[in-house]
Amino acid sequence: MQKHHNSSSIVSINNITKDYHLGNVVVPALHHVSLEVESGNFISIAGPSGSGKTTLLNLIGCVDVATSGKVMIDGHDTKNLSERKLTDLRLHTIGFIFQSFNLIPVLNVFQNVEFPLLLQKTLGKKERETRVLDLLHKVGLNKHALHRPTELSGGQRQRVAIARALVTRPKIVLADEPTANLDSKTGENIIELMKEMNRVERTTFIFSTHDAKVMSQARSIVRLADGKIQETT
């Protein structure tokens, strides 16, 4: 029913190039990259620093626009969308997990998770509460609902971030180096949790990492180097 070429693809990237301008110097970040991500995948984008992982994720996450090429997210050509529509797309279709957790410091755990639902304005108070508490239960933080982010450990914060990313039931969750700021044990737990969510919620997960151990958890791996895809497995 969707019109893009691969009907199972939730993300379809076709021949994109992204250049950054540093003064007069053009720094190429991505070179003619094409990628199809089918719905429900648990995919890792791997590569050394500066290989273009974050850029690729930014393009998929609709927070950045490609210099050329086509990015289709859930059947929407992002080039044709206004800034407002892109924001809406992010709000309803994409969840974000950040390397530095990026929780809103003045809100408590419950409020942080609830925040995207408030922006969505579709659910009533009761439904929001049920959904938030359910997710907090799933990430194991139901006892910490009223804590402020500063009162939590790094692993706990990232769990809150995962709950926040999933609370709107997005089709895609993007995670940029989700374990980079965590010790390996906690990092493993976080990946476990993401995998669990992928299984239970059938949410597509796309995460970047340069940690081989984390990478090994992925169902498929896209290897980037110097802004080009080296290998897809």
């Binding site: 930014n58 800034e83 309803h92 390397q99 409020q111 995207p116 922006l119 579709t122």
Partner: protein, 702 residues
Amino acid sequence: MNFNTNELRVLFQIAFRNLFSSFLNVIIGGIILVGTFFFVVGSSLLNNMDTAMSRSIIGSIGGHLQVYSDQSKDPITLFDNWQRPDLAVIPDFSKVKDGLAKIDNIKSVVPMGINTAFVAYGNTADLVLERLRKSIDAKIHGDHSTANLEKIDSLKSHVQQILKVIHDGMANIGTITNSGTVDPQSLRDLEKAESKDFWASFDRDPLNHLEFLENKIASLIPDADMVFLSYVGTDLGLFQRSFDRMEVVDGQTVPNGMRGLLISKYIYEHQFKVKTAFRLDQIHEALGVTGKTIAKDPDLQQLVKQNRTQTRDIVFQLDPISNAKLATKLKANLNSNENDLSKLLADFFTTTDANFNERYDFFYKEIAPAIELYRIRPGDFLTIKAFTKNGFVQALNLKVYGTFQFKGLEKSGLAGSTSLMDLVSFRDLYGYLSPDKLAEMNEIKKQAHVKTVDRDKVESELFGGDSIVGKANEKRINDDADLAEAKSKTRDSQNASSTITQNDIDHGIVLNAAVLLKNPALIQQTMKDILATSKQEQLGLKVSTWQQAAGNIGQFIYVAKAALYTAVFIIFVVALVIINNAVMMATLQRVREIGTMRAIGAQRSFVLQMVLTESVLLGIVFGSIGTILGALCVHWLGIKGIPAGNEFLYFFFSGPRLYPTLSVLSLFFSMFIIVLVTTISALYPAIIATRVSPVEAMQADE
């Protein structure tokens, strides 16, 4: 549904959480707090002063509007006692009265003429000698009653007492200057008057002796005085009905149809009261109202010193019997062995904070009844002299019926120094001749064979033909008789006790008129109506509001308000700049947070609202605290009252203390300003914040 409230809730939650998260916010809050505090207190005070002052002006002589001739050279000013505006005459008030009566909103039109005259009266010696002369006249005319004879004896010894005081005074001058400052002739006269021979021969030829005393001695006393009297000539009955703040203090109002004068209580106290008593009153009030002390205040010390050194005012007034009586009382009161009254009084008036009230009471209980506390009393006649428009001096004997004051303005020299006079007497003093009078004058001139002589014809008229001079000579004796008759006629027509009618009042000149309105809110419309009527009926009027008519005083409140608003404006401009900077800094510090929100799906508008809400909330929270503190302060002042430290403030406060009430308008206005200022100052940083890219969220920690 409740979607918007949800978003609002999260906005407020974020904003409120951020409120106290930075120290900078507390500083900004402090500035806003101080700004609103001053604004609320200041504007409440000024609003109250404004109403109090407008009450003062409107309720005393201003009325809501003043009309005057459009031929006038100056705009009308009511309280410039030293420089009267040059107003042209409105020839017939009745036309103005009838014309303006057609305007619906006008309650009454009170005719007025403001002028200044001077009043001269004799010194204490003159008064005593006058009384002595009266008693002696009575004796000559057959009053040999014991009472009268005793009175003569008492007055005679009073005169001798005065002579002694004068002599002592001269001796003092002599020792101080050690030279002949004292006129030797005066000294000889004084010695003669004091001699036993003089008094031994007094009863044989009292009139000549009196004349000597009156001519030679009374003039040696320098306490004769001239008082300037500002007055409003008006329809006294209408005036009292129209100006509700006027009240009679001593005596009575001028009865209907009578000429007369009501002296302002302020002037009565300042100019006509025995100086010593007036100074005591001043000290009494300063100690009671303003909380000053003699020990610390140099002005009060000066007053005490003057009272100590100027006891002569009182000693002069006492005959030997009263003198001795008072000396005995003072000796007892002061526990002193001194016998000389002057020294006893000097001692008595050396008051301190500790004994002042007791001595003040003693003064009014024991000393005041023995002396004439005021130089004129209700019922006395006062000779008023004024320079007419034509430059000659016009004098009038007017009965003083009483004193009056404007409620709330008792202590204000600005509004309180104006006395009230009937309009007809004003016209006489103003030197305006009505057509009738002009005809009468011409009649007198004709009778006296005075004719107007052209300047170039003077010579020929005076020295031209023998025939004219000769004729004139023939009639000279008769001329004198005619002149005397004419003179008495004019005097009759100016006799102050002659009655006047409403017709006399209404038909004649006025300089201006106060207009009182039924609905003061319609003042602008009424002004237009008056001008239209004036044009239609050719009344030739100009109109001023009471503010304009009050001159500089009326402007004062505006100046004060301008100053306050400027100060508040500066505070808020400073606040604006600081808030702007602070919000900018806060925004830059929160780029990651804002980027995250944007990435998660917050629209730009949400970010804009968030930053604005934060700033406005900051303003509202601290502004409210400032407003509440300001309101409490005004409330506290309203209970305690702000003392009017000087006469000016007395006028502005319309009373001895201002009890400010909170102006609700200023509360709303202060909150409005706060919201405005904080919104404006946060607007730019908020717009910057909306430009934060969601990419910022992706940046790894440095």
